[in-house]
């Protein structure tokens, strides 16, 4: 009887560990999939560091400047 209880407890503990490990792999994959869903082509554009830096480069190169103004934070998607 005692041996049976110990065996049952060990089995339950192992099941909990397996469930946790399974969940971890699944959750990690779901988070990764969410992160990879980001559309981030815009990050590859060689944006100047600031408007003034862009104005200086524009004058130096004698070429037009593309300015996009927005509200919020483009980098965090809060815009």
């Amino acid at each position: 009887m005692h041996r049976g209880s110990v065996l049952l407890a060990a089995t339950l503990a192992a099941t909990m560990v397996c469930a946790a490990e399974h969940n971890e792999a699944v959750i990690r994959k779901q988070i990764q999939r969410l992160k990879e869903s980001e559309v981030n082509g815009w990050r590859k554009v060689p944006w100047a560091a600031s408007l003034l830096a862009a104005r200086r480069a524009s004058e130096r190169e004698k070429r037009p400047l593309f300015l996009f103004t927005y509200c919020g934070n483009l980098e965090t998607g809060r815009c």
């Binding site: 503990a13 909990m16 560990v17 469930a19 946790a20 969940n23 971890e24 959750i27 990690r28 779901q30 988070i31 969410l34 992160k35 869903s37 980001e38 559309v39 981030n40 082509g41 815009w42 990050r43 590859k44 554009v45 060689p46 944006w47 100047a48 560091a49 600031s50 408007l51 003034l52 830096a53 862009a54 104005r55 480069a57 524009s58 004058e59 190169e61 004698k62 070429r63 037009p64 400047l65 593309f66 300015l67 996009f68 103004t69 927005y70 509200c71 919020g72 934070n73 483009l74 980098e75 965090t76 998607g77 809060r78 815009c79």
Partner: protein, 288 residues
């Protein structure tokens, strides 16, 4: 704009090759404030736009000549569609007979990729940080919201089990710990400010799943109800159920891993009194 025109390969190619491209946030949300000189230059551009009767606004594309004169503008409502922005760029390139920029020139003016700034809503600047990603899975694509929030010592400690806890022991993470984290679980919308969100429910139950001499593994499950209006006076609510895991370094008694993923998350807002439902995903993860 970020997930449409600015990520369209044709637009990216033209603005990278023929223009000096720059982005300017008008309110520096979650960013270091701009210099007074920069504000003055932006004001000059806005005033010239108004003086010449061009279509401007807070969210707008401005094309400037090398001497700073305004050449053309396009509001976001048009510019967010590549088929509107491309002809404007192509016309200017043709009119000015522009030649591609040299790689040296591009490299000289390009900024270093900046790390995502922690939210300025919080005072802590030291890590560890909790990253919060949100996405709408139905309706127009607004991309991914990604906030990075510093965790306090008290917030980290709340996820750790009591010293003498056995596997199966459960405890509740206090709502004063969870609320500031769940506050960022709102969808990426043109209305973006975290301060507009009110956490109405933020429960999180932790259960010690397994322990060893070195490590404790903790399972997490919880629920969130977040009020987030999409424009006023409409009401909007996010409901989500989370599952997750945390790990503790037993010797250092520190939180080494934390992951939470929404199992069911929905954003409901109201249009003319009728509920509009959008599925979404929310993830939280400890990271650098």
């Amino acid at each position: 704009m970020r997930v449409s025109s600015l990520s369209d390969p044709r637009v990216m190619d033209l603005i990278s090759t023929y223009f000096v491209p720059v982005l300017v946030s008008r309110d520096d949300y979650q960013r270091t404030p701009r210099s007074e000189d920069e504000k003055a230059e932006l004001l000059r551009i806005d005033r010239e736009c108004a003086r010449r009767g061009l279509k401007g606004g807070s969210v707008c594309v401005f094309l400037l000549a090398a001497n700073g004169d305004l050449l053309a503008t396009q509001r976001v409502q048009q510019a967010c569609k590549p088929e509107n922005l491309l002809p404007l760029l192509q016309q200017l390139i043709a009119e000015q007979k522009l030649r591609p920029r040299s790689q040296e020139a591009i490299q000289a003016s390009a900024a270093q990729p900046a790390a995502i700034a922690p939210s300025r809503d919080r005072k802590e600047v030291e890590g560890p940080f909790l990253h919060i990603w949100t996405r709408l899975d139905t309706g127009p694509n607004y991309g991914l919201g990604h906030d990075r929030v510093a965790l306090s010592v008290a917030q980290c400690q709340a996820f750790l089990p009591p010293a003498d806890a056995k596997p199966g022991t459960s405890w509740n993470i206090p709502e004063e710990i969870t609320r500031p984290l769940f506050q960022y679980g709102y969808p990426p919308f043109p209305q973006w400010e975290a301060k507009d969100c009110k956490v109405q429910k933020g429960t999180l139950k932790a259960t010690l799943a397994a322990t060893s001499e070195d490590e404790a593994r903790i399972q997490l499950e919880g629920e969130m109800l977040l009020k987030f209006p999409l424009g006023r006076p409409s009401e909007g609510y996010i409901t989500a159920r989370f599952v997750g895991l945390a790990r503790e370094d037993r010797k250092k008694q520190t939180l080494t891993s934390l992951m939470l993923m929404s199992e069911q998350a929905e954003y409901v807002w109201y249009w003319q009194g009728k509920p509009q439902l959008r599925k979404m995903r929310i993830a939280l993860e400890l990271g650098p």
